[in-house]
Symmetry: C2
Subunit: 438 residues, 2 copies
């Protein structure tokens, strides 16, 4: 690989990364750039300006995905590389944004390489910023890439509303990002992301490559009690939805103890109390529980235990608790040829690598359902993410850009494209949006 | 007492009561008329129109209390009778509104009685609609009467904000009810209200008269964990504010088991989770707990037990939980002469009465700190309140209007006025807004 010219140098990458981190910056070094907010719009504007000034053609599709395209071969399909620029509320500045900016610089290096009379690529290349990966404002998460991959219905997603009642369609229009462009057709996909765990840090390994994603599902839990006066209602006459709800929250937490340590993770992240008045016994608690495991059978068993426990709570308090399954995402395997491609690239960079699983969902998991995908991680300090103190060192970020550049370079020259229907790719189809009334 | 003329007849009272119940009506026979909302404004407009058309002079003070005044004796102080027209979210149609409309009809009967050459009253008479008794939108509750009674500071209350960030001052201006009138000076106070308990119903007694109010206090509890990714954070690395918060909710509930049955009531009514995203482990839960007992020592002992338990929860989960005391309302006794006045009036109406305590706060409890007050209850079916199925029969409502008319008639002729400094009134001063950082 030739020496990196100034326009795509590591120093320029770092300067741009840290500049983007000032958009929607929070007091404690995080960012707050939820999907289709003014802060999200600012990062999108930054990407558009950067891409156009470096000779990329920018397209925006109907769900707000942004593609910065480089056409090497007319009418050939595209290798897509990227991640997402949106964040959680009070989120970290690395999650997603690192992957998009790393991809911009990797693509620029490949463009410069090709321009310097390198071998002509077989495929074109585009950097993508997927819309609403985080799902903090609009559920489900991983929305833009799942629509692109054909896993979610476009119209259904445009109709999703946030807690204020604003739809995705309205929010995209409000920031001028309800696109009309046809997105580039993908042939393969690569993404680099922070690990959000502590395996790489603990083992002092430079890069992780993902072999498979965890099985995940959510439970929509609606606890229906009866509203009454906190001061005038005898304890025996109350049907307090929050007391029952608290027991459900603890049941969701405690079910992890039924399995091997860290074999199952669970939590309640969304939890809304009605009417939420200091002197009214709550009538309703609506919550979303999230269950994840490498082993689908563990999630299914945990779900069964929880349903029984929730039934006991409802009977014990003479209230109604409705539970619905949704957002079920099957365990998926990434193609072995992609894992080996990452291993080779890392070796050529003189770095170390290990294989691992991802507990978190990613755009690459959705894309892997459509085209062969490669998913790589750089280390996260303390393994924390979705919070302001999320951190990855400049050195690790720069290493990741080098590895992604090598992987993307192989992909545009045809690697992995044939694996799409190969037997090594054993992923099952993703089911989602499935609801089973209990 | 002469036969009731048509304009103040029981049938007219019931027709007006049920008409007001259509304002802000909900699907299940309740009302939603939180303080200073458009629905609250509509009931206030109804009262203004009714009062002016029946010859009352309407005044509105700076905290939005409405007074419908009848001047019998120039420059004499006023007997105040009334309650509140605001409701809880999805509240009942009787709580508060019954007392205001009953007072309007009682005042009209007294006015008609005086006009028919009855004895000249010693004092004037005004019907009051106290602002924001419920406190569902703006805490603390019992706001308007507490400002009038000198227990809360006017400017401090005007600056209180709802969960959307709107101040009381802004909300009052928005509905055109930021008054500038000097309120009438009170000499005594009477109120009739639904019981919100089931003692009268169980004992088949027509009227309750309140001897004392329960000791109450609130705890502001702030659980500070750390935000992280629900899918990527090992269970052992989480500091989930909602899991700890759920244990606090259960501790607040379970502390009642440490005392005799129903000697203490407790609950968490307000409970907000941040950031409230389905795939983020919560960083913060902010809640308000409400503790009430007839015996102040029981509340103090329960508070001590809770503080120790909360401390254990915080240590066990390595998170921070801040607790502040606020809205402490001392146990208060109503003047014995007022209780006896109610008993006499009930006997003269040929009805039955019993003495009881009130677990709930009322405007009369605040007013009793300023002038001698009489508080009476009519039965509540099933004892439920602050909910849509709150119910009192027409017959019981009509009986209450008769009793209130007799009591108010005695008050305007000078009864109870001398008790203000009498030794039978043994109430202690109300402390409120007191905060102790823990």
């Amino acid at each position: 690989m030739p020496e990196t010219p100034a326009s795509s140098s590591d120093a320029t990458f770092l300067a741009d990364f840290h500049r983007v981190a000032t958009i929607g910056a929070t007091d404690n070094n995080g960012v707050d750039r939820q999907a289709a907010t003014p802060e999200d719009a600012q990062t999108r504007d930054w990407m558009r300006t950067w891409a156009q000034s470096h000779g990329f053609e920018v397209r925006v599709d109907a769900i707000g995905n942004m593609f910065a395209c480089l056409e090497f071969v007319p009418n050939a399909p595209y290798v897509l590389i990227g991640s997402h620029l949106d964040s959680q509320p009070l989120g970290g500045r690395f999650d997603g944004a690192y992957g998009v900016i790393a991809a911009l610089f990797a693509a620029l290096r490949i463009k410069e390489d090709v321009a310097e009379a390198g071998p002509t690529p077989k495929y074109n290349l585009a950097v993508v910023n997927w819309f609403n990966e985080e799902g903090g404002r609009f559920a489900p998460s991983i929305m833009g890439s799942s629509v692109y991959a054909g896993l979610f219905d476009l119209e259904e997603m445009l109709a999703v509303r946030d807690l204020e009642g604003t739809s995705v369609a309205e929010a995209l229009s409000a920031i001028g990002c309800a696109g009309t462009d046809t997105p580039p057709e993908a042939i393969s996909y690569a993404e680099i992301h922070i690990e959000q765990g502590r395996i790489l840090e603990r083992e002092a390994t430079d890069i992780g490559v993902v072999e498979s994603s965890w099985y995940t599902q959510k439970l929509d839990i609606d606890v229906i009690g009866e509203q009454s006066h906190t001061g005038a209602t005898a304890m025996a006459d109350r049907h307090d939805a929050l007391v029952s709800g608290a027991k459900v929250v603890l049941a969701v937490h405690d079910v992890t103890n039924e399995f091997a340590e860290e074999a199952l993770v669970s939590s309640v992240g969304q939890h809304v109390v009605e009417p939420n008045s200091p002197i009214v016994v709550p009538r309703r608690v609506h919550m979303v529980a999230d269950l994840r495991s490498s082993d689908p059978e563990i999630v299914r068993a945990a779900r069964e235990i929880l349903l029984r426990r929730i039934d006991d709570i409802a009977r014990g308090h003479d209230i109604t608790i409705n539970v619905e399954d949704f957002d079920i995402r099957e365990k998926r395997f990434f193609p072995e040829a992609g894992v080996e491609l990452a291993e080779k690239a890392v070796a050529n960079e003189g770095l170390t690598i290990r294989r691992l699983e991802t507990m978190a969902g990613h755009d690459s998991v959705a894309m892997n359902a459509r085209v062969p995908a490669v998913m790589m991680f750089v280390p996260s300090v303390d393994g924390v993410s979705h919070c302001e103190r999320e951190f990855t060192t400049d050195e690790d970020m720069v290493r990741g850009v080098g590895v992604l550049t090598r992987v993307a370079g192989e992909l545009v020259h045809g690697e992995l494209a044939g694996e799409r229907d190969g037997e090594v790719w054993v992923g099952r189809s993703v089911r989602t949006g499935e609801k089973a009334q209990r």
